[in-house]
């Protein structure tokens, strides 16, 4: 914070910048050194071989939290009357199981755990959005951390990092179930007759590529927009008592509405994953 002037645009920019670790490029004052980017421009200049430390830490941390909590329930799972936490976990597991049974017609033991992981993990990542935007970055700044984005799902790297493995799974199962010829045939011979194969290939190719894009950008866009609104509301706290009180009211309202959004986005991401994988398993065409 200290390096930037405290203006509205500076505040917003600061909140939208990841804590990026990478190698400073040529022409920079720290050229050739590894370190944390001081600004969004620095992060941009670091190129591909840099890492958003905050996104990675929060994402992995929340994932491990999810695995730990559910593993605890899984270890103590008995056929007796379930306790509170176990009951909750079983409720979620049954919900996922029902969703998977409803949308996924083939037999694959991987889909349900995949869906469970995606749903709970994305939900937890989105949940970070409900923590007031300044609190954790402020704590971190006391420890000397310049930038911190605590909502991993507002980082496109994270959402693409989820959507791309799903996309590769779709490709893998498409080829495995239908054979390479079958898969390519599906791309080339629909929706028009065979002699229009190039047109078909173009259309189906775009559809195929659009899937991971829309899959990840839907989550990213929703969470990014939600985060942005929280930041804008937080700006109002600097505008006097009346505006601040109004901002507090707005933040409460938006947070309550956001509970719906974060759950819905996690559910949509999971459902789309199931549907895409189901399509990969369909041999009907």
């Amino acid at each position: 914070m200290a390096t930037e002037p405290l203006t509205a645009s500076g505040y917003i920019k600061h909140h939208l910048t990841n804590l990026t670790f990478g190698k400073f490029p040529e022409g920079h004052e720290h050229a050739g050194h590894w370190g944390y980017a001081h600004s969004a421009a620095d992060a941009q200049a670091m190129g591909f071989w840099a890492i958003n430390v905050d996104s990675m830490l929060f994402s992995a941390g929340l994932g491990i939290l999810f695995l730990w909590l559910f593993r605890k329930a899984a270890k103590t799972a008995t056929t007796d009357v379930p306790g509170g936490w176990q009951n909750f976990v079983e409720w979620i597991v049954e919900f996922i199981d029902t969703s998977v049974r409803g949308s996924f017609s083939a037999k694959n033991d991987m889909v349900a755990p995949l869906a469970l992981t995606l749903f709970v993990w994305i939900f937890l990542m989105n949940l970070m959005d409900l923590i007031a935007v300044d609190h954790i970055p402020w704590l971190a700044s006391l420890l000397g951390v310049s930038h911190l984005k605590i909502v991993p799902s507002t980082d496109p790297n994270i959402t693409f990092g989820l959507a791309l493995p799903v996309f590769f799974l779709v490709l893998y199962y498409s080829v495995k179930i239908k054979g390479l010829g079958g898969f390519l045939g599906e791309l080339a011979f629909h929706p028009f007759p065979k002699w229009m194969a190039p047109v078909n290939l173009l259309l189906e190719g775009v559809t195929l590529i659009a899937r991971p894009l829309s899959h990840s950008l839907r989550l990213f866009g929703n969470m990014y927009a939600g985060e942005m609104i929280f930041i804008l509301i937080a700006l109002m706290y600097g505008g006097g008592v009346a505006l601040g009180a109004f901002g507090g009211l707005l933040q409460l309202g938006w947070a309550i509405f956001h509970i719906l959004i974060i759950t819905l986005q996690a559910f949509i991401f999971m459902t789309l994953t199931i549907v895409y994988l189901d399509m990969a398993h369909q041999e009907s065409h």
Binding site: N18, T20, G22, A43, Q44, M46, G47, F48, W49, A50, I51, N52, S55, M56, S59, A60, G63, F66, L67, F70, R71, A73, A74, K75, A77, T78, T79, P82, V89, E90, V93, E94, D97, D109, M110, A112, P113, L114, L116, T117, W121, D155, P156, N157, I158, F160, G161, L162, L164, P165
Partner: protein, 156 residues
């Protein structure tokens, strides 16, 4: 919004997490759920069976009760019949006993009558003798009139 190696890091993390979930979380929970479902189904079936058995037992109990009632009725009828017989027998016995007592009493009365008669006869003789003595004012020869007196006594 810039892409960097976070993408790869997140992908690897994702795959590891899914693997862990698939290996250590999903199967035990699903297993527990299935087991509990089975247990509940068994419990319901057992309760259904118990209900059925209870119905059967109730039916059996009713049948036993009805049979017991029938038999009790039978026993009462038989007992009543037997009681009637006993009363009849007792009546017959009593009648014959009564007759026997009556005959005995009659015989005794006859005996008493005879005895009294003999007694009376003796006394009449002695009174007659005394009377006759007074009338004659003299000693009557006992021997001379014995025959006469006996005749008189026999007449009385």
């Amino acid at each position: 919004m810039n892409f960097n190696a976070t993408l790869i890091g997140q992908s690897i993390t994702f795959i590891v997490f899914v693997w862990f979930c698939m290996k250590f979380i999903w199967p035990p929970i699903m297993h527990a759920l299935d087991e509990r479902r089975k247990k509940i189904a068994d419990g319901l079936a057992a309760s259904e069976r118990g209900k059925h058995e209870q119905e059967l037992a109730e039916e059996r109990a009713t049948a036993i009760l009805r049979e017991a009632k029938d038999r009790a009725g039978e026993i009462i009828v038989r007992a009543e019949k037997r009681a009637g017989e006993i009363v009849d027998e007792a009546k017959v016995d009593a009648r014959s006993e009564g007759e026997r007592l009556l005959t005995a009493a009659r015989a005794e009365i006859d005996q008493e009558i005879n005895r009294a008669r003999e007694d009376l006869r003796g006394r009449v003789v002695s009174i007659a003798l005394a009377g006759a003595g007074k009338v004659l004012e003299r000693e009557v020869d006992q021997h001379a009139h014995d025959e006469l007196l006996n005749k008189l006594a026999a007449e009385i």
